[in-house]
Symmetry: C6
């Protein structure tokens, strides 16, 4: 029934770019030096795949804390590669699938990729694809084994494939020998104070003079996801304010109100 | 068969409000400052979902001891949002369902919600949805993974979704990475003495002069559920009394008889 | 197939009373103060269910050592309630059932109960319904989850339901959060010397002058089940005696022969 | 499919006695005081079942080391009861049965027994019926639960049932609450020196003068099964001897050859 | 489906002897005193089965380190018994069988044996029949239980059966109560220096004067399997030598080359 | 369904050589003394199989760290044997197969091999065939048992079979008794400094004068796989360089750029 499943799953080239853009809904902001270095290294690898005859397969793992921007980064790399085949494999598209169907879909994407001269496959949130849970360390070994094999299987002659994995549980993947199965590992960190400042400047939602106070009020490090959510809440204001005014630059966020929101969520 | 199941499950908009009201059978009483603060914070989040273009999905977990009023609170928030789509997902409606059917029903509710501009979904008693039991830490990983993914999947463009979870086992959910999957966590506490007094005043079942003695006889903290059950027993009286007279204000509960009931259940 | 099962299981109102009486084959004896207090408290709860509009559901657990008389007590309470619907759910009637069929039957009994204005359901020997075994702490989680949910689900408007559970493993049920799912817990103890004397007097099988010696020969506490079995053996006598003569009052048990039986079983 | 199985299993009254006799192929020997006392106590219980109106069900467990003669004793008790229904439930007759079919067969035997006024059921080698193995403490919980329930279920009015269990793993059964499910427990011990002498005298295979030396050469205690096997080997003799001559009394076993056999098997 | 399987499995009397001989491809060599004693004891048991009317079933376990010659020994005993029915049950003939089919085949062989007046069944490499693996101590309990029962089930009247088991994991079998299920246990050891010398003399592949040096170069004990493999490698020689010349006695093995081979495999 | 599977799997002789060559895409380089010794020893074993009448089956395990060149070595040995049947069994060709189908395919390859006078089967990456994962030490016992049996089953008379296994988890295989199931074990090590120098010389991508500095910059030992990947990255150069120029000898790798790449991947 694996083979049947393989037939039934249709390629979804058309939807691919759309899916990738939806991982970066509000565009990409400058997140500081470390994020930039990761992105540049990854683009060098893209070039290696594009040019080197001896690199038929190159696998790269982006790992870092939850909400640090791994998926957005992977999507950006894939988009900028301009490879003819790019595809994201995510648990979001497999709700209700059996383990076998998941394997089937994953294998199908690789088979599709092998037909294109240059391809990028994103294995997003690998712990979720594996249905991993800490209690009892449960997960789908069938999916794991499929991924372990696919990460090492060479594409047919003349085809080039780059695989980008993302995970916020690299210690778990490591104990499954899944980290060492990747050629390259790159760490995507949380934002440090200078990075936070860059992001907030990029958004332009605070008055210049408030920026340092705001950053100081935050933790030593914070995931970009949480920072954006905080800004969102504060932009909302107490009563009849319109958040869009803030993003449109018509109004700045009240520093004190931001501090209150911060407290509420702590 | 997941997809079949998805077809078969019919939306139940009509029944929704009725179900929510049945979570608060005898209306809502004033439970003191902390309950009030939780409710207000949640209503702010409701506003954020209603107004902010950048908040397509907002997930909030109400956690607290058994019987502390979490479900009643979630129902109240949902009702007061006046969102066009509100739905409670509860184990009560899934007796005898297989794990797959449960996932199917849950996914179906989310799919239905995506069709409405503004929706609230209550995931009630998440440990029960997961069929969790402490012995052996057993639970349905299939349901867990489905919830983990749905809590992060963005609704389609232009749709807004708020998810309200309730649990009295947040430490368990935490070890499943399910707590951190929510944007916001709010604690619903047991009643402290001043809160108990407020609730008893609200009910009007004791003579004013007895209130302090009654509260003093109770534990340092008590779930509202247990307090209401105690009042119920005491209102019943020993023999031929009619409990309704008490609630109608025609008769007050005998303080001593209340103390006896308290002892019997200790 | 759960739903099919639900159809196939036919209500069994007719057999109900018969089943309950068979739990107390030889009538009820006076077992002393504690048993009496438990019975009286339970009858007060029955009255609350009968009268209070706000008590649609009341759940009560009878727990105590094996053979202490829990099932007989639950049956007595149910019979004396004179509620129109009374039903015992026991593993005895489910030999060879699959876990799903058990859930189905249990749910079916509750559905039937919801149709009667006043109902009592006895969940007898809950550890047996759960197929619990200490080695490996195995049990049916499906049955457990079904019971957990049913113990909290309110009957439809205007219907009243009392659930009486029995168990001799309350520590196990507690670690499944099944004890706290009951509104009220009542302990059914083994017989202490004064209680034993009462039971033996009630049976009238010993000469008055022997009673104290007999009680003294017994352990500090003893389940009523074991006491009745001992009497039975001793009533039998060594050879051609007829036990019925003893119960009919024609003959008394020989104190010394009773002591011998006691030794044999120790 | 349990119910189907129930239909298919045919009662086997005819074969019953034959099966029981095959448990004691070479007749019963005097095994000393303890064996005798166990047998007598068991026969008293048989009488209680036969005569007492209040004893509808009596369950008795014979437990002791492997090969100590439990099955032979149970068979003897059943045969001597002269009850119209006697039946042995043994794993030997269930090779290749699924767990469900085993339950079905076991339940079927009880159902058959309920139709007879007086019945004895032997549950032989209960750990084997349960498919118990020490590694991982694996066993069939389905069979266990079926037995636990059947051991407590009363036969219909007017029917009398005695259940005789045997086991050499009572500590295992105890941790399954299966020992306490029996009304009476009786221990069948290995042979001690005086018992060995009785058995060897009964067989008449040694010269009188050799008996004490032979017994002294044996361990402090020995299962009757092993003693009989040793005698068998020694009776065989080294070369062209005929073992039957020994049993027929024509020849005695050579003491020294017996000692050699003993050494070989140690 | 067990019964179906039972039908389908055809008896394989014809192939039996062939299979046994293939366990001793190159004939039997003298392996020293201990091997000889084991073989003699086993042949005495064969005689007991043949002659004694009271020994309908005799079970004997050959246990020893891997490659020590257990299977070859069992085959030799069976062949020399000249019993009309001899059969080896080995995992080699059950590749791809389900657990149930394995049980079915095993039971079938016993059923076939019961039809012959004298039979020998070899249960070869019992840990392999059980699919045992040390990690997690996994194995097929269904197969284990089948074997446990068959080892104790008496053949029909007038039939004689000897069962020869082999294992190199007797400590594992012991923790399954499988060792004590055999009437007799015999240990097949590795070769000690004098035994090695006997084997090498028997092969005649070394010059007489080299024998002691060769034996001294070997470990304190060695399985015959490993010794034969070493000889084989050394007989091969470095280049264009023909190993058959060595076995045919035309050439002797170069002692030094043998030492090199020994080092390579250490 | 195992047998059905057996039918359906078609032999794939034609593809065999192609598959083996794809394990050594860019030809074989001199990897130093230890690799050479392993290869020579293996070729001696090939000769033994070819020539010795008594060696019908010879099994050899190549074990060493990940990426150390085991598969390439096994492929080379098989190719150089010039045996008429050579076949690699690898998880790559079994994605989506059930455990049973895997066993079926593996058994099928052995059956095919038995038809050829001389055969080599490569069991590549045995831990992957077993679907082994460290967490919970999960693996397919069905596949394991099949391999354990096949590694010991003799081919039919006149057929010769060599089995080459590869693994980077010999400690795991050892705890499954899978290592001792092989006749011979050979270790394939990582590259040490002199070996690295040999490989880099063989590639000719560095200027002679840089070689020692480059080797010194590397770790004490490194898998050949990682060394080749590093060279590949460095050959790529920063911008518009063409890696092929390097391999073609037109350009040498910039030592400093190589050091940078080394740092990026550390
Ligand atoms: N550079 C960026 N500029 C703007 N928004 C960003 C950037 N990086 C991430 N985001 C946004 O932050 C949120 C979190 O990012 P993302 O989902 O990529 O993180 P993640 O590390 O993949 O999280 P998770 O651990 O949950 O998978 C998303 O809404 C994303 O659109
Ligand atoms: N503010 C309130 N006013 C009146 N009744 C309330 C209030 N809050 C809760 N209740 C009542 O108290 C009982 C317990 O409340 P609820 O079921 O919401 O608690 P919970 O925390 O969800 O309990 P559980 O842990 O069992 O899920 C219900 O009968 C509910 O109707
Ligand atoms: N008050 C009583 N008067 C007379 N007989 C009684 C009384 N209570 C219990 N019995 C009898 O004692 C025996 C054990 O009682 P019962 O089965 O109710 O105990 P239990 O606590 O439910 O036991 P278990 O733990 O096995 O479920 C039964 O035969 C019952 O009829
Ligand atoms: N009293 C006796 N007289 C003669 N033979 C006996 C006697 N008791 C047992 N035996 C014989 O001894 C052997 C072992 O007895 P039995 O099978 O009853 O022991 P067991 O305790 O049931 O063993 P197991 O633990 O294996 O079930 C049998 O062959 C039986 O016929
Ligand atoms: N006495 C002997 N003379 C000649 N060859 C022998 C002798 N005993 C064993 N062999 C050979 O040695 C090898 C190993 O013997 P065998 O398979 O019987 O050992 P084993 O103990 O059963 O091994 P395993 O533990 O793998 O099952 C076989 O090739 C067998 O033919
Ligand atoms: N001697 C060699 N000359 C040239 N390339 C080699 C040599 N040995 C290995 N390689 C190459 O190095 C890479 C790794 O080799 P291979 O796959 O054989 O290693 P492995 O030990 O089997 O790895 P794994 O542990 O992942 O199975 C392959 O690309 C292979 O082609
Ligand atoms: Mg992500
Ligand atoms: Mg709730
Ligand atoms: Mg009871
Ligand atoms: Mg027995
Ligand atoms: Mg063997
Ligand atoms: Mg490899």
């Amino acid at each position: 029934d694996f083979n049947n499943a393989l037939q039934e799953v249709q390629p979804a080239f058309g939807a691919a770019l759309f899916e990738l853009f939806s991982c970066r809904v509000n565009g990409m902001l400058d997140c500081g030096e470390k994020h930039k270095h990761v992105q540049e290294t990854a683009m060098t690898l893209v070039e290696q795949v594009r040019k080197s005859d001896r690199t038929a397969l190159l696998t790269c793992l982006l790992e870092g804390p939850p909400g640090s921007g791994k998926t957005a980064l992977a999507a950006t790399i894939a988009i900028e590669s301009e490879f003819p085949f790019i595809k994201i494999i995510s648990a979001e598209n497999m709700i209700g699938y059996s383990e076998t169907s998941k394997c089937s879909l994953i294998a199908k994407v690789f088979e599709d990729a092998y037909k294109s001269p240059f391809s990028i496959i994103i294995l997003d949130d690998i712990e979720r694809l594996l249905e991993y849970v800490n209690i009892g360390a449960r997960f789908s070994n069938v999916v794991l084994q499929t991924i372990l094999v696919l990460l090492k299987r060479l594409p047919p002659k003349g085809r080039k494939l780059m695989v980008l994995g993302t995970t916020s549980m690299s210690y778990v993947l490591d104990s499954m020998d899944l980290v060492s199965a990747f050629n390259v590992k790159l760490g995507v960190p949380n934002l440090r104070p200078p990075d936070m400042k860059k992001v907030l400047e990029g958004l332009g939602v605070f008055a210049k003079r408030d920026l340092d106070d705001v950053v100081e009020a935050l933790d030593e490090e914070i995931p970009i996801k949480k920072l954006l959510m905080l800004v969102e809440m504060a932009a909302q204001g107490n009563q009849d304010d319109d958040a869009e005014d803030v993003y449109a630059g018509k109004r700045k966020i009240d520093k004190n109100y931001f501090m209150e929101c911060l407290q509420d969520l702590a």
